[in-house]
Amino acid sequence: MSVGSIAVWPLERRSRERFPLALAVEYRLLDYDERWGAGKTCNISSTGALFEVSERRLLSGSIELLVSWPCLLDGVCALKLVMKGRVVRSEGRGVAIESRYHEFRTAGVRAARKRKD
C-alpha cells in the first residue's frame, strides 16, 4: 500500500483532521535501546502521526520520530521535526503514534553536508 493511498488505509480512522504529508521519517524505539528504522509519513497533526515503515514489522511502546522539513535551509542545513510519543496502532507497514511532545531542530550544516556525501 502506497503512502498516497491513505484514504483507504485501514489504520486511518481520522484521516482528515491530519494533514496528508509524504515526508522522510526516521524512528527510534525508545523501549528497545537504539533500534532505528526509516519510512515515510502519511499524515501529521499536533496530536500524532501516521507513517509507513520501509519494511513490514510490528512496532510498539515509546517512539521518537525525526521527520524531515520539506526543504534544506540554504540548500544544506537540514531541519527536523522531533516527535516523541507512543505507538497506538501498528499493522503491516502502517504505524500510528500519539504525540506527547514535538519541536523543530536542525542537524546543522556539517551533518547535512556529511549526509549529502
Binding site: R16, F19, L21, L23, Y32, G37, H102, A111
Partner: protein, 175 residues
C-alpha cells in the same frame, strides 16, 4: 548483541548524527518565509506548499520561538505567516516588521472565525472581505492578506493550496 525486531537494524551513522541535533538555529541563507502557528500539521503542510512554490520557509510553533529563530537567522524575512490569535502575536509582528522592512505579513485565520475577530489585546482588527481581509492597528502594522486554515474535515488538495498560496504571494505587495 542485536535484539532488534526483524528488519529493525542498528544504524550507528544515524545515531551519531542525531546526537548532534541542536535546537533550531538556521544558518545564514537566502531570504525566506517564517511560519508561526501552533497547528503542527498545518505548519508542515504550509512548509510543503512553500517548497513546491520554490520558496524557503522555516517553522515556529509559538511567537517566542519565532522571534528567537528570527534573531538567529541573520537574513531578511521576506514573508511572515502568523496566527494573530497566538499569545504575543502583535508584539512579534511589530518586532519582525521593524527588523525586516518590506516584510509581507499574512495572517492565518481559522475557518470558523467570525467575520470581525480581534486578537486578545485588540490591537489587530480583522475585517473579512471574501477571504481577503484588511488589518490595521494603532501602531501602524497593516496587512490585507489572510490565509484561512482548512476546517478539520474539509477535503484538502495540494494543487489547490499551491495555487492559493501562490496567488496570495503574487498579490502581496512589500509594505
Amino acid at each position: 548483541m542485536n535484539s532488534a525486531p526483524p528488519g529493525c537494524e542498528q544504524r550507528e551513522n544515524v545515531k551519531i548524527e542525531i546526537a548532534h541535533l541542536q535546537p533550531v538555529t538556521a544558518r545564514p541563507c537566502s531570504a525566506l518565509t517564517l511560519i508561526i502557528d501552533h497547528d503542527l500539521g498545518f505548519v508542515m503542510w504550509l512548509g510543503e506548499v512553500f517548497n513546491e512554490l520554490g520558496c524557503q520557509a522555516v517553522p515556529a510553533l509559538h511567537c517566542r520561538q519565532g522571534l528567537a529563530l528570527a534573531k538567529r537567522l541573520e537574513l531578511p524575512i521576506t514573508t511572515l505567516l502568523v496566527n494573530p490569535e497566538l499569545p504575543g502575536a502583535t508584539r512579534t509582528v511589530k518586532a519582525l516588521a521593524a527588523a525586516n522592512p518590506g516584510m509581507r505579513i499574512i495572517l492565518i485565520r481559522d475557518s470558523a472565525a467570525q467575520p470581525v475577530p480581534c486578537n486578545a489585546d485588540n490591537r489587530i482588527h480583522v475585517i473579512a472581505d471574501h477571504g481577503v481581509a484588511k488589518q490595521a492597528n494603532p501602531k501602524g502594522i497593516q496587512t490585507r492578506l489572510t490565509l484561512e486554515r482548512p476546517s478539520p474535515w474539509e477535503p484538502i488538495s495540494r494543487t489547490e493550496w499551491v495555487a492559493r498560496v501562490g496567488q496570495l504571494l503574487a498579490k502581496s505587495p512589500a509594505q
